[in-house]
Symmetry: C2
Subunit: 146 residues, 2 copies
DNA sequence: CAAGTAAATAAAAATCATTTCTATTTAAGC
DNA sequence: GCTTAAATAGAAATGATTTTTATTTACTTG
């Protein structure tokens, strides 16, 4: 289930290019925050990411993690995930997918649903405005929490 | 587009019954918080609701609004809406629907999509655990913000 | 490959959203 | 009406995130 290093390297190359295009400097911290998020499969919060990164960059400050995540989300290089939780959660992947969220343990799991992706929105939605994204959020109890 | 007073009255009767069943006291504040939320069509935050309610109940405290919303959400009498925003937003309606969220003005609009409601989730989701809810969140720019 | 410069960082303080604490009030059962 | 546990108001505390400021650093230009 884990993405290959090769694919991650590709993603990382694209990230550096995208930063340059966006006029964002390639700082050590920024690269490492992105790399850690890209490696993660659990939609970590800023705090979680900070804890993980401290092992390799002990001086990294939490506000830098927050600032970096905000900057990257603003440039659409990462996504802030919709949840009902107090801590915001993030992901680096750009592939179209949806979320299963456990009401109990708050774990967020990706899933694919191509028939939805292909289905056009109802007329009401198109009249509303210009659609940018369309995602399904499923709540429930994961197998582990039942 | 506004719900009739008759329907609101019905909803309100059901709310009182549900509170009794849940062992929740029918306090003036609780009834008014619910009534104000049921009347609202804009998925207000706790703060917004508090501002509106202060007109009629000047002594109502903000923490009571927060506490009440948390209690009612816990008993499934209202919903906390999934968003990427910092302030939590709420709705009283229980009918199955989905959300259009404007990335700019953050306005949340309801829409219906019956073909999705009827469509079974992919196998991957059913293996994940016990599903409780399934909602679509659409981001984009509303007509007004374009 | 040195400056020069604007952007980014670390650390601390501030702010915003929400929760907790405590004394007081009140709904509901008797 | 009286009792009692639940709910409220107001204040203080907490948790998450943002802002401020002085310092450092990536990238430009000569
Ligand atoms: Mn995801
Ligand atoms: Mn709604
Ligand atoms: Zn779980
Ligand atoms: Zn808008």
């Amino acid at each position: 289930m884990e993405r290959s290093n090769h694919l991650l390297d590709d993603q990382f190359q694209m990230f550096e290019t995208a930063c340059r295009r966006a006029g964002l400097r390639l700082t050590h911290q920024r690269l490492e925050v992105y790399r850690e998020l890209a490696r993660a499969e659990d939609h970590p919060s800023a705090e979680t990411l900070h804890q993980r990164l401290r092992r390799s960059i002990p001086t990294l400050s939490l506000d830098t993690v927050y600032r970096t995540l905000a900057t990257l989300a603003c440039h659409r290089l990462i996504n802030k995930v919709d949840t009902v939780e107090s801590q915001a959660r993030f992901e680096a992947t750009q592939h179209q997918h949806h979320h299963l969220i456990c009401s109990k343990c708050k774990q967020i799991t990706d899933f694919e649903w191509h028939s939805i992706d292909a289905l056009p929105l109802p007329a009401q939605a198109n009249e509303w405005g210009q659609v940018e994204s369309k995602n399904v959020v499923v709540y429930g109890l994961c197998a582990h929490c039942q």
